[in-house]
């Protein structure tokens, strides 16, 4: 029987996990935002990459710095930093993505009081050779900044080793998605959600071991055939609300794929180990499906979504729009239209700090499943 206890234990108090890790290893913990943070380099420096997600409490201190029209991720993260809930971090990495994160980086640098602060100025275009060269050069710059912080030179071999760990982690995460797609009752979406959340904060070597064990436990043979549940693809930024999976399941749906940066976008794209390490990390970002704050082509995200529906034999799409998330809000109309052209039904849920009231979302979810 596969157990997910460890992952739940970590996500219930990821800060405590990081503090213990620090005590045990004596190494540094680096907070990061979003999937454009080059975790491989942080790991190669012997540090722990710790993904900062939405805050864990109500907002008070952050209100003195951020207007009410900033998204809950940005406000929640700042609140945690100002409240001392992230004091175990030795520093933070801000990859450039959207306007809100851009200014959060400044406000953070000016107020949060961490000694290390890196802006990794990821290009916005991810479809030109010069952007690829630039991306490689800023990864090198970031590597040097980390070396200065840790006092340790990040040797090429260390980078290659970290890359291979991440490739294996991501392969295993993608296998979890494949298992769920082929046999949704073998692993629940809420469990996958817990694993991903833990994966972004825990020791990556340990993570790899745990994932390998888990996948072995899940087994290849004891899979039940498809259920009658409606197969759903989720689309949006990130989802830090595990309850949504239960709601979907209760309404007779089952999640088979997503395009979240805490989901498929996190594990997709293997880093080519035959290329120079920094270049190969950059190449993966250039090839992977983009965050809507980045540009690859005019239709890339819509095409990805339509394919995700087809490949995973899905019946419909639920869009999650985090309130005040501009990049996603701009993409929603055209992506919805592309789905319509393929006769794929979709529904939009807007999320503020929390999901809409349970009753409301249950009703809408049920109505959508019935329509399917």
């Amino acid at each position: 029987m596969a157990s997910f206890d460890l992952f739940y234990e970590i996500i219930n108090n990821p800060g405590r996990y990081a503090i213990n890790w620090k005590k045990e290893t004596g190494n540094k913990v680096i907070g990061y935002f979003c999937s454009y943070a080059p975790e491989e380099i942080i790991t190669a420096a012997g540090a722990l990459p710790y993904r900062i997600l939405a805050g864990s409490g109500s907002i008070s201190k952050a209100d003195a710095h951020l207007q009410a029209y900033s998204c809950s991720l940005v406000r929640g993260a700042l609140e945690d930093a100002l409240n001392g809930r992230l004091d175990f971090l030795d520093g933070t990495v801000f990859p450039h993505t959207c306007d809100s994160i851009q200014r959060l980086s400044d406000i953070w640098r000016m107020n949060a009081g961490f000694k290390f602060h890196a802006d990794v100025m990821v290009p916005v275009k991810l479809n030109t050779a010069s952007a690829g060269d630039y991306m490689t050069s800023i990864l090198d710059k970031f590597k040097k900044e980390l070396e200065k912080l840790t006092g340790i030179e990040i040797a090429r071999e260390k980078l290659k080793e970290a890359i291979s760990i991440y490739n294996s982690i991501k392969k295993n995460l993608s296998r979890l998605y494949a298992i769920r797609r082929d046999a949704p009752d073998v692993i629940k979406s809420s469990d996958i959600h817990a694993i991903f959340k833990a994966a972004m904060v825990m020791d990556r070597r340990r993570l790899l071991e745990e994932l390998e064990r888990l996948i072995a436990d899940l087994g290849e043979n004891d899979r039940a055939p498809d259920t009658a549940d409606k197969r759903i693809v989720l689309s949006g930024g990130l989802c830090s609300m595990p309850d949504i999976y239960k709601t979907i399941e209760k309404s007779g749906g089952v999640v088979v794929w997503d395009d979240f940066c805490t989901g498929s976008r996190y594990f997709e794209g293997e880093i080519n180990t035959k290329v120079e390490p920094l270049r190969s990390i950059a190449d993966r970002y250039m090839e992977r499906v983009v965050c809507p704050a980045k540009h690859k082509s005019l239709f890339s995200r819509g095409e990805y979504l339509v394919n995700a529906v087809k490949e995973n034999r899905a019946d419909g799409v639920i869009f999650f729009l985090l309130k005040f998330c501009d990049p996603h809000a701009f993409d929603y109309p055209y992506m919805k239209e592309m789905l319509e052209k393929e006769n794929i039904p979709s529904v939009l849920f807007e999320i503020e700090d929390q999901l809409p009231s349970e009753g409301q979302i249950n009703t809408r979810c049920e109505a959508f499943m019935e329509m399917l």
Partner: protein
């Protein structure tokens, strides 16, 4: 129409800026040419972001059109809310930039004061002002099915790094190659030298016009600057801009000589931060003027000369990358605060009015920190107005009025 029976107040007439007439003529001519069928002008049309490098377009004889300038016109004509609502019915969230919403909607219905902008042959998007323009221009590139060039200018949070420099410089070359491809002709580097000189000259003159407000009393206010700004935005790099600002500068100097101020009995000198509230400029202007408060300068209109120090008049193309990457909005919040501190000193400001503009996150997020810095370092009162540049639904008049009154009391 003005009422012929209404007596002309000579005092009001005396205070009016006379160059306004010429400015309106130039803008009308500009939009008439842009809207003339392309078969007649033989010119291509590019839509370009307000912070984008327009000069190479001028060199290629392409007519630049600015959706953001049109957004301002839409706002000033109080047509913003309708168009924003139209965009919302198309599926765009009401929290998105109101310029973007208005433009996206306007394109589909030929809306706004001049019945829509002429259709583009290409789109030029420079993200030095925000990430929103990328998404906005993607929407328009899909709608019009025309080529999109993105000039990616990474944010200089704390530095203009060697990596950024190399990347943007490479893209300047790519920009020219893109234009050569779309226009089907070679780029004229000699003409670039001329256009570059005119651009820098225009920016210098605009800064000089803005600097006349250092005089006490000030010959104009930032509300005037919001109006006269249109030329440096839309026709930068052309002779009419230089000629016009020379004329405007001469008028301002004459006003100073003649002791003509814009605000009667100027008592307080204030700074404005962020975009105008286009549908309420008159209301705000009157409101402040009634208290003898003159908004002498603003961070917005001076934004178009904020990187003059990085521009090399003798090598415009060579300095284009740095000049366009280091505009003040593309720097860190602390640097933006420094900019305001410098302006407060330069213009002898007694207070700071901050427009927290729901539409513009890179401009607005960080303003609370800037406010604190200004209070600590300058010990001057500050006021935050929560509003939006063209979506009138966000404007809470009575609340804002109360806050302005309280702010004026603090100045006294």
């Amino acid at each position: 129409m003005s009422d012929p029976n209404k007596a002309i107040d000579p005092e009001v007439e005396r205070r009016k800026i006379k160059s306004v007439k010429r400015m309106k003529e130039i803008m009308t001519e500009y939009y008439i040419e842009a809207k003339t069928p392309k078969e007649q002008t033989g010119k291509k049309i590019a839509w370009i972001t307000s912070g984008g490098p327009v000069e190479p377009l001028i060199v290629m004889d392409v007519i630049p059109v600015y959706p953001e300038n049109y957004g301002a016109m839409i706002g000033a004509s109080k047509m913003g809310t309708d168009l924003c609502e139209k965009a919302e019915s198309m599926g765009y969230a009401s929290d998105l930039c109101s310029y973007a919403r208005a433009d996206i909607a306007s394109a589909t219905v030929n809306g706004g004061p001049i019945g829509g902008l002429p259709e583009p042959d290409m789109l030029i998007c420079c993200n030095n002002i925000c990430g929103t323009v990328l998404k906005w221009y993607e929407v328009q590139a899909r709608y019009f099915n025309v080529p999109l060039f993105i000039l990616d200018t990474p944010v200089c949070h704390t530095e203009y790094s060697a990596e950024i420099k190399q990347y943007v410089e490479k893209q300047v070359t790519e920009y020219i190659e893109f234009l050569e491809g779309v226009c089907g002709k070679k780029f004229d580097y000699d003409k670039m030298v001329e256009v570059g000189e005119l651009s820098v000259r225009g920016q210098e003159l605009w800064q000089e016009v803005l600097d006349t407000t250092m005089n006490r009393p000030s010959p104009m206010t930032c509300f005037d600057a919001f109006f006269h700004l249109a030329l440096i935005v839309t026709l930068r790099g052309t002779q009419p801009v230089v000629d016009y600002y020379e004329m405007l500068l001469a008028e301002m100097k004459q006003r100073i000589k003649d002791g003509i101020s814009m605000v009667t009995d100027e008592k307080y000198r204030l700074l404005w931060d962020n975009l105008p509230i286009w549908y309420r400029t008159r209301w705000l202007s009157d409101k402040f003027a009634a208290h003898g408060a003159c908004l002498v300068a603003d961070t917005y209109t001076s934004g178009w000369c904020s990187s003059l120090k990085y521009m090399d008049k003798t090598d415009f193309l060579g300095s284009l990358a740095e000049g366009y990457t280091r505009i003040f909005l593309n720097t860190g919040t602390d640097q933006m605060a420094d900019n305001i501190l410098e302006m407060a000193k330069k213009y002898n400001a007694d207070g700071l009015v901050i427009h927290s503009n729901r539409s513009c996150k890179p401009y607005s997020l960080g303003q609370y920190d800037i406010q604190k810095i200004v209070q600590e370092k300058m010990h001057i009162p500050t006021l935050v107005i929560e509003a939006d540049m063209i979506d009138e639904r966000i404007f809470a008049e009575s609340q804002i009025e109360t806050r302005i009154d309280a702010f004026i009391e603090m100045l006294e």
